[in-house]
């Protein structure tokens, strides 16, 4: 039964993917891409990867379509017909694909318990993480404690990507009077009222996700995206200028640095206390308390950086005018 559902969902995914590629109207592609993301979240759920599904849901429903739409507003709506022949790219894709498929022949069967990946560190995570880290949600233990280095890298990547996009956009920014203030939707009474009720709820939900990563799916990445989505809703309906009063660009940049510094700071403190970098055991007398605090602070850093980066991306996209 579950396998049948997996296959059906994957089939949908293929259909949507083909439709996205075939579509010349980029706006329609964005819409179809939204469906693609909904489907991937459902597939992740059915594969039991609830944390990944949560991330996909938050990013897909809240941020990605909006950022793609913002980008689209800077370019043109229709895809230019390709002028060169499709033969060479097709061959490259076919050869690469064939190589990859050939590679899968050596891989162990799907869900094979004897596969090497299940023999390496996974048993330790599953059997010992509760004693060693004390979190019911193993994914959080792995993400924030065992593989804290990787996650730190990811946060730095998000930060760097944010900085890069801001730099790129600043070079096409126009003079102050030319800035297009995309209309805010304040004059729609329905939208205004519903948003006024929903924004506090969305923000609180984001904090719930941030602080319950220990128990269930959730954590800094998802929470940051949802928090940013709440503010983006605010910016779209109540106004960009209003949100700038609270979140000036400088303040946002400062916030996204704070998150990274908080993460690295935890690592430095553990070094000073005589442990290894990001070994939270030394943070408190009790080993598990130390782990708990370490993960809490690190996730908080992730959440702050993600929120600030996403929000400043959205705001700077809204400032740039389409080049005529």
């Amino acid at each position: 039964m579950e396998q049948a559902i997996d296959i059906i969902l994957l089939g949908f995914l293929v259909v949507v993917a083909i439709a996205v590629v075939k579509q010349r109207d980029l706006f329609a592609s964005v819409i179809l891409f939204g469906i693609y993301s909904l489907l991937s979240a459902a597939i992740f759920v059915s594969l039991d990867a609830v944390d990944v599904a949560f991330t996909e849901a938050a990013v897909g429903a809240g941020i990605s379509s909006i950022l793609i739409l913002s980008t689209l507003a800077l370019t043109s709506r229709n895809e230019k017909p390709s002028s060169h022949s499709v033969f060479l790219p097709l061959m490259v894709v076919l050869v690469t694909g064939a190589t990859l498929v050939f590679g899968t022949l050596d891989m162990p069967a799907f869900a094979d318990p004897e596969a090497p990946v299940h023999k390496h560190v996974a048993p330790r995570y599953i059997q010992d993480s509760y004693q060693e880290v004390g979190m019911p949600n193993i994914v959080t233990s792995v993400l924030a404690s065992y593989r804290g280095y990787d996650t730190m890298g990811e946060v730095v990547v998000i930060f760097t990507a944010g900085v890069a996009v801001l730099l790129l956009l600043s070079s096409v920014r126009h003079k102050e009077d030319e800035l297009s203030n995309l209309t805010d939707l304040k004059h729609h009474p329905i939208l205004l009222n519903v948003a006024q009720i929903l924004i506090p709820i969305i923000l609180l939900f984001a904090l719930y996700v941030q602080f319950h990563g220990d128990y269930g799916p959730g954590g800094g990445f998802q929470a940051g995206v949802i928090f940013a989505a709440g503010f983006i809703l605010y910016a779209m309906i109540i106004g960009i200028d209003e949100i700038r009063k609270t979140f000036t660009p400088k303040y946002l940049h400062w916030l996204s640095v704070t998150g990274v510094v908080l993460y690295i700071g935890v690592g430095i403190v553990t070094l000073l206390l005589g442990g290894e970098f990001l070994n939270y055991n030394v943070l408190a007398e009790e080993k598990l308390t130390g782990q708990h605090w370490g993960i809490f602070l690190v996730e908080l850093g992730v959440g702050i950086t993600v929120t600030a980066t996403m929000l400043s991306l959205f705001l700077s996209f809204s400032e740039v005018r389409r080049t005529p």
Binding site: A19, G62, S76, L185, M236
Partner: protein
């Protein structure tokens, strides 16, 4: 058993919605379909959670119910600003 039937009915409805999203013809039909697809996914996640006896997936459904409409608003906003609708094509009549 009944849960499985519900899940399959939702999948069939998703397939129909998908067809509408691909066929169009206008951009509004596609957005409508994408939106309805979101509702279907919310319900599907709920049913799937019960089918596999792990209802803690509900948080994801809750998240979709809360923020799936943000994209629609974004579309309206870009429409109001006139950036995305300047080039009207097949659906302009």
């Amino acid at each position: 058993m009944i849960l499985a039937i519900t899940a399959i009915a939702l999948l069939v409805a998703m397939a129909m919605t998908l067809l509408r999203a691909i066929l169009g013809p206008s951009i509004f039909d596609r957005i409508l379909a994408a939106n309805a697809f979101g509702t279907k996914i919310v319900l599907f996640l709920g049913v799937y959670g019960f089918l596999t006896e792990r209802p803690d997936f509900l948080d994801i459904a809750l998240l979709y119910a809360l923020i799936n409409f943000i994209t629609t608003l974004a579309i309206l906003r870009f429409f109001e600003s006139g950036v995305l609708f300047v080039k009207s094509d097949e659906e302009s009549n």
